[in-house]
């Protein structure tokens, strides 16, 4: 447990959650348009 820090905390799972939720908020705010 000693090697904490961003490398360990920010796993691919969390990265996907952060990117995914950001895109949800951006879309709901109407900031993206006309994705084909």
């Amino acid at each position: 447990m000693a090697s904490s820090g961003w490398g360990r905390v920010l796993t691919e799972d969390w990265l996907a959650v952060i990117v995914g939720l950001t895109l949800v908020v951006v879309a709901l705010a109407g900031l993206v348009k006309n994705i084909p």
Binding site: A16, V19, L21, L23, V24, G30, I35, P36
Partner: protein, 332 residues
């Protein structure tokens, strides 16, 4: 990576235009093929290893899954009222466990078993993707199951509406049967439309009720996996261990679903925003399947053999029979 994803998207639009019967062939087929070809060409130039790092299957898959959660309005579970929830819950549990036990009986590996059971019981490719994330399945297993889903959906899409007419089912029973049985949403729409407008409407709602339960199934499956299947021998795992190994994207999926349900109910989510979310999800899934094709190993596919096909076939026959019984019972 972006250029290849655009090429895949182009194929999904152009091919059904040439041949309308190929409507049921969904994006995973095109994406895996483009990925395979690109992988082959880059290998010829000795670039496959160095460019492999850009084909991040897991990241694309999981981000796509969070976006999938965002396209699920939890209120749709109740779109049919109690009847819809009863139908979806009955079908998902019976078909899931039937497939699970048949697959175990045939000696299929646990993760592949979870993918097969989820895809037949819920909603085909997206359920297979969700289950793959929840149980950390191998890429080849996901490609194999996605292929099976599409292969089986194709004939059923044409045969089931004919069978419904032959059996003299009312449009709402026929719709509930089609929506409860056919796995991929595109094929449900195709089959419903072949029967009647009323059947199409009921089939789409029945499918939505099942899709809406996807998050619940993913959560339970992930929990079962870390707490029971993969636990260390001897003793129960601690809550901390379960949390550490729990796939966090499932929480993102549920959170996104909750946010969108709330946004829809207070009128923040415009139809245009919902459409953009759906398109973004498709792009991430296309990139994921492209990456799967890029790194696909035929040896692993061959290793799986005929048994998953037999399981999928038996499970589909069982699903068809149970879905007819439930449709008559609930909507007859």
């Amino acid at each position: 990576m972006l250029a290849l994803t655009i090429a895949t998207w182009k194929l999904t639009k152009v091919v059904p235009g040439w041949q309308p019967k190929l409507r049921a062939v969904e994006y995973p087929v095109y994406a895996v093929t483009v990925g395979l070809v690109a992988g082959g060409i880059l290998a010829l130039f000795g670039l496959r290893q160095s460019l492999g790092a850009y084909f991040r299957t897991e990241f694309f898959l999981k981000t796509g899954l969070v976006l999938l959660g965002a396209t699920i309005d939890l209120k749709e579970i109740g779109a049919f009222g109690l009847k819809g929830i009863a139908q979806a819950a009955m079908l998902i549990t019976t078909v899931f466990f039937f497939t699970w036990f048949v697959a175990r009986w045939l000696g299929i590996e646990a993760r592949l078993r979870a993918l097969l059971a989820a895809s037949v019981a819920i909603c085909g490719v997206s359920a297979a993707i969700t289950a793959a994330g929840a149980v950390l399945a191998r890429k080849e297993q996901l490609a194999y199951v996605a292929g099976l889903v599409i292969l089986f959906a194709f004939p059923i899409m044409f045969l089931q509406p004919l069978a419904a007419t032959w059996l003299g089912l009312s449009p709402s029973v026929a719709g509930a049967w089609i929506g409860g049985n056919i796995d991929t949403t595109a094929a449900v729409v195709g089959a419903g439309a072949l029967h009647s407008p009323e059947a199409l409407k009921v089939a789409s709602i029945a499918k939505m009720s099942q899709n809406a339960l996807l998050g619940v199934v993913a959560f339970l499956l992930a929990l079962y996996w870390v707490a029971a299947v993969e636990r260390a021998p001897g003793g129960r795992p601690s809550l901390w261990e379960i949390w550490a190994r729990f796939p966090k994207f499932v929480l993102g999926f549920l959170l996104a679903s909750g946010v969108v349900t709330l946004a829809v109910s207070v009128g923040w989510a415009t139809p245009a925003a919902m459409r953009e979310l759906k398109h973004m999800r498709e792009w991430f899934f296309m990139a994921a399947f492209l990456s799967i094709g890029f790194g696909l190993s035929f040896g692993d596919l061959r290793e799986a053999g005929w048994r998953p096909v037999a399981v999928y076939g038996l499970a589909t026959i069982f699903n068809t029979a149970v879905a007819l019984g439930v449709a008559v019972l609930v909507f007859g």
